[in-house]
């Protein structure tokens, strides 16, 4: 972990960016952008995360191995969410008979 010494000013600057993004995301939450609210919130969160990872955690100067490991971790989480979500999203593609629904009136045998 013999990394170059980062100037204090850089850290403070990154911190101010993070504060700015926090204010931004809070402000955006008070506007009605429909589904874009979620997109904006996640995009800003990703940006903040990148700032913390690259600057505070020093990944800017890290070896390729560390970067691959980090990407792999996020990729694996994405796999978990994507594959699981794919089940829920495609259930309605095969409609079930009404009689299977708990709100359907019971039928006599």
């Amino acid at each position: 972990m013999s990394q170059p010494i980062v100037p204090q000013k850089t850290y403070v600057l990154v911190f101010l960016c993070l504060i700015g993004l926090t204010i931004l995301t809070t402000a955006v939450a008070f506007k009605d952008l429909g589904p874009f609210n979620t997109v904006a919130a996640l995009a800003i969160a990703f940006a903040k995360m990148l700032l913390v990872i690259l600057f505070f955690m020093g990944v800017r100067h890290s070896s390729g191995l560390i970067r691959i490991i980090l990407v792999a971790g996020f990729f694996w989480l994405a796999l978990l969410i994507a594959f699981t979500m794919s089940d829920y999203r495609t259930r309605s593609w095969t409609p079930a008979p009404d009689s299977w629904s708990s709100t359907a009136p019971p039928t006599h045998p």
């Binding site: 191995l65 792999a72 971790g73 694996w76 796999l79 978990l80 594959f83 699981t84 794919s86 089940d87 829920y88 999203r89 495609t90 259930r91 593609w93 095969t94």
Partner: protein
């Protein structure tokens, strides 16, 4: 064996076993070799516990109405059998015993990267085991090792929380072991030991560790949520609130499917080492086998939905999971082809380790092929929930993983203990295990195909003959397992003293004494040749 040096038949030399005495030197050790032995004793203990549950089940099943226990008790037996065997025997077995012992030796290092974490790993495992033993004694668990909700979270009144804590804690043991291996293999290889000169056992350990590190945390959070729900009687898996029981299954199987690769990949690594040594040949297609290990680890994460074909998952998700499940069979098959090709024109000797390795290849292939019936959506509808599944996974876990483990124990026993065991008894035990195993589990394929459900305490009378056959086989299998216990312990005191390389095998672990000194090597070796340089040795030797 022409290059083996003769050593004095007196155990005067300093090694890791006699370097220090007393219980503190064992319980506070940082030596990876001693920690491996701590694990060896613990997992053998849990194997016997899990095996006892199996024995009780097989006795119960000789009668169609059940011969031994109440159905509620039977449910607890199969649950605890699964939990103990999977989490406390199979998952740690090869990595924590053989991996811990051999990884530093094989890379040419003095220890793993984090020796204290290694010891912590063992203590975590023991604490988890104690919680699980407590849950068994305090009434047991009857949910099945898969803990499906909402039964486990809402309706079961058995020791779900206690066993959940046990499994949760033990998961961290697995994570730390995997973490240790990855760092060791990346950063501590001896000079000259490039990635593609490593023995395939190391590739197997590396691939296994990837799964341990990426998968086990998801099990941990799933069990955590389950315990929360069981304790507070409300939660996200509860249909009463609009929760989906299938979400539990998704999260559970995201780990538990790759977990089966944690159990089989190390055994495959062992088999590669044994086949190369006892055929006196380099493994055919070394790089392909190495890449296959990693491919299995990666692809293994993409198939978990095949456990959920009939529980309500979307058909389209099922299609994708089915396709990927077929794909993951390919690297496994590649390995089987490569081992077979290695045997071809090899100079084969049939010592005990080789018997286990060859048994592995046959039984694993059968287990793997039957997996294809289960990966296919339509046939799985018929076979799911039957004894076909039970037979399938026992062929792989017992016929495969356990035989790989035993083969590895027999192969490296001289290195670990400094003693040799009687090969006649070892071969006999291997044969008894092979016969007993097939007698136990082959009838279960038939039973499952004919429709006998799994996890049932009773069955239709027409299935009795096959069940009795299976129980008879289990008796033979049990005897087979006890024999090595006897002669291996016997050998520690009365076995002939082993030289540093009794099998004439390649690999850095054979270049140091048997048993190795605490610091592994007098001097860190420098590697100059490829792995499995048997041909060169043959040419130079005789």
């Amino acid at each position: 064996m022409s290059t083996a040096t003769l050593e004095p038949r007196v155990h005067a030399q300093r090694n890791y076993l006699n370097d220090d005495y007393g219980w503190k030197s064992w319980l506070f050790t940082r030596d990876h070799k001693r920690i491996a032995l701590l694990y060896l004793v613990s997992i053998t203990f849990f194997f016997m516990i899990g095996g006892s549950f199996a024995v009780l089940m097989r006795i119960h099943l000789v009668e169609p109405q059940g011969a031994l226990v109440q159905p509620e008790t039977y449910n607890k037996l199969f649950t605890l059998h699964g939990i103990v065997m999977i989490f406390f025997f199979l998952i740690p077995s090869i990595p924590a015993v053989l991996g811990n012992f051999l990884v530093p030796l094989m890379v040419g290092a003095r220890d793993l990267a984090f020796p204290r974490l290694n010891l912590l790993s063992w203590y975590i495992y023991i604490v988890g085991g104690l919680f699980t033993l407590y849950s068994a004694i305090a009434g047991g668990v009857d949910t099945g090792w898969t803990f499906y909700t909402p039964y486990s979270s809402t309706y079961s009144n058995t020791q779900v929380t206690a066993v959940a804590i046990g499994v949760f804690i033990t998961g961290f043991s697995s994570i730390l072991t995997g973490l240790n291996f990855i760092v060791t293999i990346h950063k501590m290889r001896a000079p000259g030991l490039t990635w593609f000169r490593m023995p395939l056992f190391l590739w197997a350990m590396y691939a296994t560790s990837i799964i341990m590190v990426l998968g086990t945390p998801v099990l941990a959070i799933t069990i955590f949520l389950l315990a929360l729900e069981h304790l507070f009687h409300v939660g996200i898996f509860s249909p009463a609130l609009g929760g989906d029981p299938l979400l539990f299954q998704h999260l559970f199987w995201f780990y538990s499917h790759p977990a089966v690769y944690i159990m089989i990949l190390p055994a495959m690594g062992v088999v590669s080492e044994i086949i190369a040594c006892f055929a006196r040949k380099r493994i055919f297609g070394y790089r392909i086998v190495a890449f296959s290990s990693v491919a299995i680890a990666v692809l293994g994460f993409l198939v978990w939905g095949h456990h959920m074909f009939v529980t309500g998952q979307s058909v389209y998700a099922g299609l994708i999971f089915s396709l990927l499940s077929f794909l993951v069979a390919i690297p496994s098959a590649i390995k089987v082809f490569n081992w077979t090709a290695t045997l071809y024109k090899g100079s084969i000797s049939y010592d005990a380790p080789m018997l286990y390795a060859m048994g592995f290849i046959g039984l694993f292939t059968m287990g793997g092929l039957t997996g294809l019936f289960l990966a296919s959506l339509a046939t799985d509808v018929h076979l799911n929930g039957t004894y076909f599944i039970v037979a399938h996974f026992h062929y792989i876990m017992v016929g495969g993983a356990v035989m790989g483990y035993l083969g590895g124990i027999h192969f490296w026993w001289p290195k670990i203990s400094g003693r040799k065991y009687p090969n006649g008894w070892a071969a006999l035990a291997a044969a008894i295990i092979f016969i007993g195993f097939n007698l136990t589990f082959f009838p279960q394929f038939v039973l499952g195909y004919l429709g006998m459900p799994r996890r049932y305490a009773f069955y239709p009378a027409e299935f009795q003959v096959l069940n009795v056959m299976s129980s008879a086989g289990a008796t033979v299998l049990g005897v087979g397992y006890l024999i090595p216990l006897v002669y291996l312990i016997w050998s520690m005191r009365y076995g002939p003293i082993a030289e540093s390389n009794p099998w004439g095998a390649t690999g850095l672990e054979w270049k140091t004494s048997s048993p190795p000194p605490t610091e592994n090597f007098a001097e860190i070796p420098v590697v100059t040749e490829e792995a499995y340089a048997y041909a060169a040795e043959e040419a130079a030797g005789d």
